[in-house]
């Protein structure tokens, strides 16, 4: 098994005449947490969308776990083992916590018509089994939340929603987790809590790699093994946090100096 889990080769995406991402090379090793940073509009979320099959790349390749997944549909990518959260939380607010997490577990659900309509006993077995799994997963974040699995998500505060979103991504036991600004909309304390959660998850799910997009540099510094900096769709620096923080090109990209 190769050390490298994910690799971008010369990845690029154009929207009309705008080059959102250009010649992006990156590698993610197994078990690594990578921070993807850069000013707004630098191509971070675009690269997530290219990886997860929401957009097809205009150029380049994405390799994941030994297979070429360039241009695969979102479904296929998910089945290959990449799960994500969204920049603006995209939970189904009227549905319960349990339902939302089960959406992430979709590959293992039996969605056959006959099974669901007529084999109610077998269905019940599956519901109970997955309930236990989902409950345990949620309990790892918050015991209180685990006691409210059938509350609608819309009734929860932001930090709890973020947690559910992460649980929804984790329930399928992915090999790579993509977090798109997990601290958005949260207070300083909540962000700190969220970081503890993420580290705990990584410890529990050995070998899980994470790519995290984040504007809070504190989060990046604490969590990430490696950082990649994008600016105007191009990679301008990579390395440890200390390395990129000292990189003059990174500083000028953020501060807008030349």
């Amino acid at each position: 098994m190769s050390e490298v889990l994910l690799e971008f080769k010369n990845l690029g995406k154009n929207f009309g005449g705008v080059r959102a991402l250009d010649g992006f090379d990156m590698q993610v090793k197994r078990g690594e947490i990578i921070g993807l940073i850069g000013p707004n509009g630098s191509g971070k979320t675009t690269s997530f969308n290219l990886m997860t099959g929401i957009y097809a790349p205009s150029q380049g390749e994405v390799h994941f776990d030994g297979a070429d997944i360039t241009g695969m549909s979102a479904r296929k990518v998910y089945e290959a083992g990449i799960a994500r959260t969204f920049q603006r939380s995209r939970l189904c607010l009227p549905l319960s916590i349990f339902d939302n997490i089960m959406i992430g577990n979709h590959a293992r659900l039996n969605t056959g018509l006959w099974f669901n309509l007529f084999q109610r006993r077998a269905l019940r077995g599956q519901v109970e089994e997955f309930y236990t799994q989902a409950r345990d997963l949620v309990a790892g974040f918050s015991e209180d939340l685990a006691g409210r699995m059938f509350d609608p998500v819309g009734s929860l505060p932001m930090i709890e929603r973020r947690r559910i979103e992460i649980c929804r991504a984790l329930i399928s036991k992915p090999k790579l987790l993509l977090l798109d600004e997990p601290s958005a909309g949260m207070t300083h304390d909540e962000t700190a809590q969220m970081m503890d959660d993420i580290l705990a998850v990584r410890d529990r799910m050995g070998g899980l790699s994470i790519i995290i997009i984040e504007h809070e540099m504190g989060v990046i510094e604490r969590l990430c093994d490696q950082c990649v900096v994008l600016s105007y769709g191009r990679k301008i620096s990579e390395g440890s946090y200390a390395h990129i923080a000292a990189d003059p090109e990174v500083q000028s990209a953020y501060l807008g100096m030349d």
């Binding site: 979320t45 969308n49 929401i54 969204f86 920049q87």
Partner: protein, 306 residues
């Protein structure tokens, strides 16, 4: 087919296309500023033509019979009425549902359309029967090789096209149009730039509804009849035209309007089955077009940001 008949169909098609485009432009304007469909548009149009009819009856009873005065009065009153109605609908039914699921606005305006239609049928004097709309325009005609081009048709088409061009100029060349386009682009930014968002939305709805009233009067003058159900079909056709053209695009709406009229004409003339199937044919093609180009011929900008 002889050239005269061909000319007749062509003239009719152009007339219909102009009317449809006028209706479709309204749909596309509303969608542009608010990303909503106001389905009551067709019934607002119907109400506009009934208002016009009422003005005509009123003028007759006052003894005013000069056709040009009548047309001017009919147009002014009915356009002002429907424009006000459009703004009221936007203010009290559409804006309050702005944050609800987008389909709710379609649903509420569909229901409003039904309510307007039914109210006219039930409460307008003898409202369930068609009303004979007067032929106020000169009907002199020139013979063009077997087909009579009538003056009223020419005036109607010319006026309709003038209104479309005028709307286009308002949208693209005036400060008001600039504000409308700004709101359509990005509501938040437009607000920050000091644009009175609510006002612009209301004005847009007023303009679109006024254009519909114009199309309604055109329809009445052309067919010499108005009835309570006319808005449903015209509204639906305008909606289809705006959709196949590509929502939010004024040229798409014009394209869609003439395309639909063309389809109806082809359905009536060129196809082997009876001309009664022309609407079935036209709607069938619309459905097929939707399968082929789900967001219209001139595609809408993608709105699902991830």
């Amino acid at each position: 087919m002889d050239i005269g008949l061909f000319g007749q169909y062509l003239a009719n098609g152009v007339m219909l296309g102009t009317m449809y485009a006028l209706v479709a432009v309204g749909f596309t304007l509303f969608f542009g500023v608010l990303d909503v469909i106001k389905f009551s548009h067709g019934d607002v149009l119907m109400l506009g033509s009934f208002t016009g009819f009422t003005v005509y009856i009123g003028l007759l009873s006052l003894g005013i019979e000069n056709p040009w005065v009548m047309i001017a009065a009919i147009l002014v009153v009915s356009i002002i009425t429907t424009a006000a109605l459009g703004a009221i609908i936007a203010r009290y039914l559409v804006l309050p549902l702005k944050s609800a699921p987008p389909l709710n606005i379609l649903l509420i305006t569909l229901m409003l359309g039904t309510a307007i239609r039914e109210a006219v049928r039930l409460f307008y004097p003898d409202g369930s029967n068609p009303k004979a709309f007067p032929a106020l325009l000169p009907t002199a005609s020139v013979d063009l090789g077997g087909f009579a081009l009538r003056a009223d048709s020419v005036i109607l088409v010319a006026a309709g096209i003038a209104v479309i061009i005028g709307l286009n100029l308002v949208i693209n060349r005036t400060r008001l149009g600039l504000a409308i386009r700004a709101v359509a682009q990005d509501e938040e930014t437009a607000k920050i730039m000091g644009i009175n968002y609510t006002m612009i939305v209301l004005v847009t709805f007023a303009i679109g509804s006024g254009a519909a009233a114009f199309a309604g009067i055109m329809n009445g003058l052309y067919y010499n009849e108005v009835n309570f159900g006319m808005g449903l079909l015209l509204g639906l056709i305008g909606f289809c035209a705006a959709i196949i053209g590509g929502l939010g695009n004024i040229y798409g709406a014009i394209l869609g309007g003439f395309l639909f009229a063309g389809l109806q004409t082809i359905g009536a003339v060129a196809l082997p089955f009876a001309s009664a199937y022309k609407d079935v044919f036209a709607f069938g093609v619309v459905i097929a077009l939707m399968a082929w180009k789900p967001t219209g011929l001139i595609a809408e900008r993608s709105s699902d940001r991830v």
